[in-house]
Symmetry: C2
Amino acid sequence: MPAWPEVRRTDAVMADGRSLAYYDRPGAPPRDDIDSRPRDEAAPESQLRRDPLTGEWAIIAGHRQARTFQPTAQETRTHGCPLCPSTPDHATEIPAADYQVVIFDNRFPSLTRTAAGMETADERPGIGRCQVVCFTDDHDAHLADLGDDRVLLIVQAWADTVARLREDSRLVSCLVFENRGAEIGVTMSHPHGQVYAYPFLPPRERLLLDAAARHHADTGRILALDVADAEARDGVRLLAATDHWTAHVPRAARWPFEMRITPRRAITSLDDLNADEAADFAALYPRLLRALDGVYDMRMPYVAAWHQAPLAGVAPGAQLFLEVFSTRRAPDRLKYPAGSESAAGVWINDIAPERSAAMLREALG
Amino acid sequence: MPAWPEVRRTDAVMADGRSLAYYDRPGAPPRDDIDSRPRDEAAPESQLRRDPLTGEWAIIAGHRQARTFQPTAQETRTHGCPLCPSTPDHATEIPAADYQVVIFDNRFPSLTRTAAGMETADERPGIGRCQVVCFTDDHDAHLADLGDDRVLLIVQAWADTVARLREDSRLVSCLVFENRGAEIGVTMSHPHGQVYAYPFLPPRERLLLDAAARHHADTGRILALDVADAEARDGVRLLAATDHWTAHVPRAARWPFEMRITPRRAITSLDDLNADEAADFAALYPRLLRALDGVYDMRMPYVAAWHQAPLAGVAPGAQLFLEVFSTRRAPDRLKYPAGSESAAGVWINDIAPERSAAMLREALG
């Protein structure tokens, strides 16, 4: 088995105390730049509140609204992108003059490690962690075009981040994801993803884990692997089958274009991937993203999110997989979750998964 | 107790066999106009598919995508609004030359009474019903501005529609809702709502019913009434308390602006409202919608949806209430459900409910 390509992590602390980690291939300059910006005001606080009528927790992060109205003096001066490298005239979130991959604590986090406050049956401090993952220092790039080695470095950075999150026992589950496109509300176009660590099991992860556990109890098998294998055999919704991954459109897809990218081996988390699997993914994933953009020959808005087992404990039958979906259903139409989706929780998909799979396969070439 | 204002229902059949019902106050002309349009092609079919990984059903309605690309010859000729009354030159969905309130089967339904097909553990025909509720024949009006008597007529039409849906034992749950605003994907600006009848219990209704049943078993009380009463006493998130209704922002609101409008009496469904309650609602609801528009002095996109008990059977502790939410969090910003919301099911609200309640109260005047 080939070894992992070498990666150097450099940890740094930002002016206001937030953590930042550079991930570099050998040969990169030392990452010893200092964040010289003036310190921000007090750390934001958020709260978890449970809706008694549904039993579900929501994150109330009132301080985040301020980010719309109150750019800092620094931002007002420069109008610059906060995710670009710093220049002598423009100090950004990343002190270095260039970088490869950087992960740092979000300046406007929904959840923080320092949240404090009352704890009742329906109310808890917003303990957790929200990190930003910068994929490249090139403001105009897209993940799909970065090249295999950079995607592999990103996978290594994700895996390391997940492993580090396990050290905080208050964190229960983490979501590694990318939102792309102004059409879904992304305000910063610099290529980046996010990591959210929640202090509870999110409802959709619970559904996935419950179904996986039932199947495992009934059959001793991994549900997501059985489904991916069946899709690979059937072929009608299959997008790609490589040595280590299966990519398919789900039979009950909720969104106009939706993919599941599943390792062929039973793996519960990003930090369980081996070097072969990661390298194979790094070659496959950009192709799939380019196919998504190829369907209508335009940049598609998308959400890409890794589903993983909880950060601690046993999760029988759980399986790592990447879910990617786009809300664009036509060159001039988006799918919005409205009444049926938001109020009742029932998704309506106007494109048959077999048809979207055929369109994606054609774009894959 | 005052009697219900008189309403006359006239049932009609559209050229392609769909049902249409006029709801009129006394004095309206007879509704005997004939739908003279050429018949459409075969009825659309949709399918329910269960995602084995989550256990949830999605509606796959591949025929609906066609509505984007293939306007009928009729539509191409007129470019008219299909929800306006018909004129000699423009035959619409409503044959009459004027109307008050009309409810008819959606031409592009996600679910139909005639759906057929295979039935397996993960696949069922898309049995159900999707109806359109036209609130007025005035294309440029908004529900909030129609006047109390029209809103009352709409409530009467909703209640009658729910009662009629109970006659089809295949229908399990119905959602009476309005999506308003291009910002959430509404393509027809003519003021209208919808009714969806599902052949299964939607996941969010199940959450509501489960929590209600637990509370009822524990206390013998109605959870949604207890919550609304507590909000009325507390006041910080209260919007209005009338003789028959309580309106408040939920403590764990998922959306920037969100209201729950709850009858003060234990009622499970729209067709259980009495005349006093309906009249009181008809006076209150337009005020609340105008307050929503008043917050930023602009028309707000919103989803308004009635939560009710299932169409048949016993639902201990279930309570009718209306949920209204807007995705607009600032004059120039919308909240989009992206990674955390769509992939994990965890909502992040950037406006504290106490703050949005204060803003709404100020707009209420």
